[in-house]
Symmetry: C2
Subunit: 345 residues, 2 copies
């Protein structure tokens, strides 16, 4: 009897069982009806600006991003394209004194959850999700990510800024209006730290970036989904999630800050193309995506930013939660092939 494969992650000490033997077809996951978040009044729709805390960033139809919630007459801006507001139920919240240098650590097993938790309302149009967004609108969203990343990462008490998106109720989006979230933490998250450690080690041993090596390897292989002037998209070798894919810049860059305009545009196009392909292939599945960025300037040589997209098609159950071993029922090669075909169709 042939066996499934157990594959190790590129960087992490994490093994995943790839069900090569009884692999499922991507279309097996298509559901007719997806449960939707129920909203009677959407606090993110235009006209309901008073339902959110004051905006920390607003892009207007005319003019650049502004950091004020209200116009010169004291009214909340109405003609906005993107609004960024603090989360009403923040996981992390700002310190009392902005310049506090006091450590957030209270004991070796207890810290204060100091930081920021923001929501980026991606469009005045309730359903303008990236898979269907107009490219100029999606460019605004990416620019808002970069703006907030810049504003938050200069704060003394912030050690990492996580930018992520939950799509669909099953993937944790409790509101259905198109939105992303940003959480700034007072420490470097475990997963990021493990990636930084592994990529630093590779760089010291090989004198090159591990992600640049991964791109070289995947660009000609069976897991490639898309390649264009600036980005490569592929299904990672040891994907933990069925249909998982990564979008990574060809040029070695550690973070989003300072991304040239042309690259922002290509990134918006790439993101839309891939999420549109996923939506068409599996009937708008729930998903999560998260940016992986270098946590410090020191990491710029060995870390390489990328976006990881995790369709939510499986449930992590007792085995995964107790052991840290994951089981993926779609091989990354199958995932890549089906997405590639859908995108180019």
């Amino acid at each position: 009897m042939p066996h499934n494969e157990v594959r190790k992650d590129y960087l992490l000490d994490r093994w995943v069982v790839i069900a090569t033997e009884r692999s499922r077809r991507p279309t097996d996951f298509a559901k007719r009806d997806r449960e939707q978040a129920k909203t009677t009044v959407c606090p993110m729709c235009p006209g309901n600006e008073h339902m959110t805390p004051p905006a920390v960033l607003v892009y207007l139809k005319k003019g650049n991003g502004i950091r004020k919630d209200r116009d010169k007459n004291g009214f909340r801006h109405k003609n906005w394209l993107v609004r960024c507001v603090p989360n009403l139920y923040p996981a992390f919240s700002p310190p009392e004194k902005e310049n506090s240098k006091k450590s957030t650590l209270r004991r070796n097993d207890l810290a204060a959850a100091i930081g920021h938790h923001e929501v980026i309302i991606e469009s005045p149009n309730h359903n303008e999700h990236p898979a269907v967004a107009k490219i100029p609108q999606l460019i605004h969203v990416i620019n808002a990510y970069i703006d907030r990343l810049h504003a938050l990462s200069v704060k003394k008490y912030v050690k990492y800024v996580s930018i992520f998106r939950n799509h669909g109720l099953e993937a944790g989006a409790s509101l259905s209006h198109a939105h992303s979230q940003i959480i700034a933490t007072p420490f470097v998250p475990k997963t990021v730290e493990e990636e930084l450690r592994a990529s630093k080690k590779f760089w010291k041993q090989n004198g090159k970036c591990i992600f640049c090596s991964i791109i070289e390897k995947e660009i000609d292989g069976p897991r490639l989904i898309l390649e264009n002037s600036h980005f490569v998209v592929f299904a990672p070798y040891a994907s933990v999630n069925p249909m998982e894919f990564w979008i990574i810049p060809k040029k070695h860059e550690a973070t989003l800050l300072g991304m040239p305009r042309i690259e922002v545009k290509t990134f918006a196009e790439t993101l839309k193309t891939c999420l549109k392909g996923l939506k068409e292939l599996i009937n708008d599945p729930p998903y999560n995506y998260g940016f992986h960025l270098a946590a410090s300037k020191a990491a710029r040589n060995y870390y390489h930013w990328h976006l990881e997209v995790y369709p939510k098609l499986a449930i992590w159950a007792g085995f995964e939660k107790s052991t840290g071993i994951y089981i993926n029922t779609v091989t990354p090669e199958t995932a890549a092939e089906s997405l590639r075909k859908t995108i180019s169709a």
Copy 2:
């Protein structure tokens, strides 16, 4: 503004945000209708034994456990109490040669998924889940865990045996008949290895078992749920899951093997009491549980077996999946108090 707490796990380098500020009430999670797995014909119900692979262990109404699927007349046993069968879609499957010493590692990032994947059918009664099971029946289930643990852990290619249970569709139980699962792996899983490493370090530094210390600390504290002659149940300090609790033996034991009969009975009673309490408090929520056992004899001094129960009341979304930081909206103190009250009511 007061802040949420960030707490570190007893052993792992894992931090969790505990929403002390806007904590949810356990009863907020009660749903009227839970989605059920749809089964037309249940392959685990009596009479359908032919729908499963041959049993590797059967407990009959008369007699002890037997390892044969069929009786002396060649018929499948009918009057069973517990049946253990190989999983039809195994993640890990046995090697071609039972005594193969060949490493399963094919490359440093690829191994064959050699091992076992079994299903323990807990009762002939479709709905005899632990929260409602008769104690003698639940004792059979625990004994079946121990029997299979023993049978699988002596195999040369097995390095760890994970025993777990998924309850409810949302927690990954695709069949609703009461059942548990066992997966034997050719390597020690990441989470277990991290726990072993941390507990070994503590033992070397302090000359005692870290779990024994945790019991001492929790037994008089606000996170205690239940204490009886042999076991302590508490909500761990840095619970990742809302309403999470652990059942741990007072006596220092590294694994389930050799558990005295009286302790098996007390364990069955403790498990039932806690799961019944959870079911009553939150209207039969989905959950996962998993045993954490020492992986080798060498660990018997510093490791201490226990059962971790994870109610499935939250969705791990983009932030958790990208960073490895978890957000728990119910404080362990609240979880313990409400379970304690429900159980003693």
